[in-house]
Symmetry: C2
Subunit: 151 residues, 2 copies
DNA sequence: CTCGATTTAGTCGTGCACAACTAATTCGCG
DNA sequence: CGCGAATTAGTTGTGCACGACTAAATCGAG
C-alpha cells in the first residue's frame, strides 16, 4: 500500500498517464519557445532543422536530408522550395544521377549560421535541465524512437 | 581524457546534439506508431487525445479542452467539427453562458472507449521502456514543458 | 541490349498547429 | 443602469506532416 498517488500508467486511458501526451506536449512547447528566436532569423522550426543539417554537411541530396531528419520528400520538397525562395539555398539536379537533387547553401545561407549560434544556448537555458538530465532525456528519447520505429 | 566520443552538447549546432531534435523525432515516431491502430477506430492522433479527455470528463467546454491539451480554439474548432461530423460528439451552446460551447459524447463516442482500451498497452509495449524508464521519461518531459512554458 | 523493377523528387489532398483577427456574449466599474 | 473591457468560439492564412500517387532516370536479369 503506497501512500503516494496511485500510478495506474500501464493500460490507463487517462490523458495524464500517457507518455505519448507528455511527449507531444513537450515537443510543441519547445518549438513554441524557439519561435520568437527563429522569427528573427526568418526561419520556421523545421526549416531551422534543415539548416542545421546543411551547416554540418553542404551539398546533400533530398533523400539524405530525409534520412537525417526522418522526413518524407513530400514534406521536404515544398519546405526546400520556400528556403530557396528566401535565398538561403539552391537546388540542382546532379549530373551523375539526374534523379537526385543536390541542396547547396548560398552565401546568405552559410552566413546565417553565425546569427544562429546563440540559439541552442538560449533554448538549453530555457529548458533548465542539468547536463545529466539533458543527456538522460536524449538517451530515453532515442530509445523510444528506435523501439517504436522498427518492425 | 575520456576515451568515449566527445559530448559538446551545450551550444553545439550539430543536429544530433540537440535535445529538441530528439524530442521532435520521438514525438513523430510515436504518433506514426499510433496511426494504424487509430485508423481502425477512425481517429487521428489529436482526435484520440480529445477523446481521452472526453472519456475522462464528458460535457467539457472548448476552453477547458484547450487547457487540458494545450491547444488553441483555432486548432480545436475544426477538429471538433470533424468529430461531430463522424457522429462521436455534439456541440451545444451553454444556456447559462452563451459564449461557451459544451462538448458531449454521443452514444457512439462513449462506446468507442471500449474498442480503444487496448491501444495504450499496445503502444506501451512498442515503446519498450521499463516502468522506471517510463516514469522517468514522463517526469523529464513534464519538467521541460513546465520550464519552457512559463515567463 | 531490353524491358520491367527500383530509386528519387515532386504533386495533391487531408488534417493538424498557430498567429491574427472577428463576432457574440458577459462582466464589472462608475 | 450603461458601456468599455474581458472572455469565448470561430475564421482565415501559412506552413508543416504524411499517405497515395506520378514521372523521370537508373539498374539489372535474361
Amino acid at each position: 500500500m503506497s501512500p503516494a498517488a496511485a500510478e495506474p500508467s500501464e493500460g490507463s486511458l487517462l490523458l495524464d498517464d500517457q507518455l505519448c501526451f507528455a511527449l507531444y506536449a513537450a515537443s510543441r512547447a519547445v518549438t513554441a519557445r524557439y519561435r520568437p528566436l527563429l522569427d528573427e532569423l526568418g526561419l520556421t522550426y523545421p526549416q531551422y532543422l534543415v539548416m542545421l543539417v546543411l551547416w554540418e554537411q553542404d551539398s546533400i541530396s533530398v533523400r539524405d536530408l530525409g534520412v537525417a531528419l526522418q522526413l518524407e520528400s513530400s514534406t521536404l520538397s515544398p519546405l526546400l522550395k520556400r528556403l530557396e525562395a528566401n535565398g538561403l539555398l539552391r537546388r540542382e539536379r546532379r549530373a551523375e544521377d539526374e534523379r537526385s537533387v543536390a541542396i547547396r547553401l548560398t552565401e546568405a545561407g552559410a552566413e546565417l549560421r553565425d546569427r544562429a549560434g546563440t540559439v541552442p544556448l538560449a533554448i538549453g537555458d530555457a529548458m533548465g535541465l542539468t547536463p545529466e538530465q539533458d543527456a538522460l532525456a536524449k538517451q530515453l528519447l532515442r530509445l523510444i524512437t528506435a523501439n517504436v520505429s522498427d518492425r
